[in-house]
């Protein structure tokens, strides 16, 4: 009897603390938004973070995109040829990449590659009093440290997703056209005819932008509020990857439902 009550109490406590953390993250987001103009005015702050988060992620994004595209080509060809429509492989691959895999896999990779690094960096700055020192020098750390890193994530994500999709299409071209021998012309022309700018490309970019906001916010939030110890920073880094991944997959579902509403009605 008492153990049941304890269980319910424990459940209530963890729900409350999760809500409190969500509220804290919301306030933190507003605080970032108040000073988001700073990295836009002082462009060098943003450029540095774009380099560390974005440019340094390009290699892993392009290589992963290539492999995903090559696998899609093999899998897609196998199914399509059963229906005698293997020349539509280009459309299938392009749509899968632009609508789904590009934004989602890019966000997952970005969380692991750049998000975790941002959390660790900010957590260490917090643990070694660098953020406190900046605050005591009358320089707002949210403006100077947090907002450029957040903005860099928002800006990088769609660009990286484009690169991922482009590399994927190229990988599919290599496997589908060069290796399997699908007709070159129909691969590209079907793709061109089958991909809609507004419905597919813009929607994919919107997803990337939302993922950029989510991953960026989670990464800076976890770093800023990491306990100032070795374990604190390391578990915050792990939480960034786990929470970002979950958030990306859930947001993807919500956005997909919203984007394709009314398609069957």
């Amino acid at each position: 009897m008492s153990s049941v009550i304890e269980m319910i109490e424990g459940l209530g406590r963890s729900v409350l603390s999760a809500l409190a953390r969500l509220g804290l993250a919301g306030r933190f987001f507003l605080a970032i938004m108040m000073v988001i103009g700073v990295p836009l005015r002082r462009f060098s702050l943003l450029v540095r973070e774009l380099y560390f988060s974005g440019v340094r992620s390009i290699l892993i994004i392009v290589v992963s995109g290539m492999f995903v595209g090559m696998v899609l080509a093999i899998q897609g060809y196998e199914v399509l040829q059963r229906f005698g429509s293997s020349e539509t492989l280009g459309v299938l691959v392009a749509l899968s990449l632009v609508r789904e895999l590009g934004p989602v896999v890019t966000a997952l990779l970005f969380a692991g590659r750049a998000g975790s690094a941002v959390t660790a960096e900010i957590g260490l700055m917090q643990a070694t009093d660098q953020i406190a020192a900046m605050d005591m020098m009358a320089v707002n750390p949210i403006a100077r440290i947090i907002s450029p890193r957040f903005l860099a994530s928002v800006v990088s994500m769609p660009l990286l997703a484009c690169m991922f999709s482009a590399a994927g299409v190229f990988g599919a071209y290599l496997v589908g056209v060069k290796l399997i021998g699908i007709d070159d012309g129909s691969f590209w022309s079907q793709m061109q005819a089958g991909v809609d700018f507004r419905l597919d490309i813009v929607n994919g970019l919107i997803k990337s932008l939302v993922f950029g906001v989510a991953v960026g916010l989670i990464a800076v939030f976890e770093g800023y509020y990491a306990p100032p110890t070795a374990e604190g920073v390391s578990s915050a880094t792990t939480r960034t990857v786990v929470t970002s991944s979950l958030a990306v997959l859930m947001l993807d579902f919500v956005l997909t439902v919203w984007m394709f509403r009314g398609l069957n009605g």
């Binding site: 660098q130 005591m136 100077r144």
Partner: protein, 282 residues
């Protein structure tokens, strides 16, 4: 029988702290602390680990807010200031953090240049001269190109000191400036604190548990205990007093008014299994 004098309003006080209470969650750290810091003096704040010394600096700098009480710095009540007024006041503070808190992604030069670049519109050529002068003052002009990871603890502390005095502050706050330094570095940093204070007409608050080092440089020593100013002494008093608490501190005795043992049931009881087993880890 703590004999704290009631805080009076001194016309020459740069900092006036009155009856400040502060608690982390439910745990009280400061309980009615009152303190005046006079213009131009070097005040050493002593006290054991966890006695609230860093907390006191955080309150003076406005990084944390007291539950109760007044903290006047240069005529302004710090906890009541809004962000821009607080930042305006802080540009006149210099703070040296426990381990320097240098920005690890910036070189020594860029660390010292940071306050000028952020707070002034000076051209780079002027900033360059100022930075070199400040580094010269702490004897590290030759280290301008190094990164913080390449510095020893003492050098890092001196660079942080150069950065802290960059904007010619009125008040210097030092958090444990001697911790982890060898005797030579301790002497260097101590003399720098005194020399900067006198040369630039600053007021300095030096939080430390290094009694020897602080006696050499301080005009006045206060001891924090039980969340209050427990003693207010001159360095001469500290050497001669017979007060048990100060003697324990001054002579480094393991046991005295500050107990060596963390509170525990009697050892014999616990060994014989008479006290509850839950009090020790299995």
């Amino acid at each position: 029988m703590p004999d704290v004098k009631p805080a009076q309003t001194h016309p020459d006080a740069l900092i006036e702290i009155k009856d400040v209470h502060f608690a982390y969650d439910e745990r009280p750290i400061l309980r009615g602390l009152s303190l005046n810091v006079r213009k131009g003096e070097v005040l050493a704040v002593m006290g054991g680990s966890g006695s609230g010394k860093t907390t006191l600096l955080g309150l003076i700098g406005g990084r944390i807010l007291p539950n109760k009480g007044k903290i006047m710095v240069d005529g302004q009540n710090v906890p009541k200031l809004d962000r821009s007024a607080l930042y305006a006041l802080r540009t006149r503070f210099g703070m040296l953090f426990q381990f320097g808190a240098l920005f690890t992604d910036l070189s020594v030069y860029d660390n010292v240049a940071f306050p000028y670049r952020e707070q002034t519109n000076l051209p780079e050529s002027v900033i360059r001269d100022l930075v070199l002068l400040k580094l010269q003052a702490v004897g590290l002009r030759g280290a301008a190109g190094l990164m913080p990871s390449q510095l020893s603890g003492g050098m890092a502390r001196r660079v942080a000191l150069a950065r802290a005095v960059a904007l010619d502050p009125m008040l210097m706050l030092y958090d444990e400036p001697f911790t982890g330094l060898d005797p030579i570095s301790t002497g260097i940093v101590g003399r720098l604190i005194r020399r900067l204070n006198d040369a630039f007409g600053l007021t300095s608050l030096v939080v430390t548990h290094d009694l020897d080092a602080s006696l050499k440089i301080a005009d006045r020593v206060i001891v924090l205990a039980e969340g209050k100013v427990y003693r207010d002494l001159t360095p001469e008093d500290v050497r001669t007093t017979s007060d048990a608490f100060v003697r324990q501190f001054a002579d480094g005795l393991p046991d005295g008014p500050v107990p060596f043992h963390y509170p525990a049931p009697p050892l014999v009881d616990q060994l014989l299994g008479k006290s509850s087993a839950g009090e020790i880890a299995p």
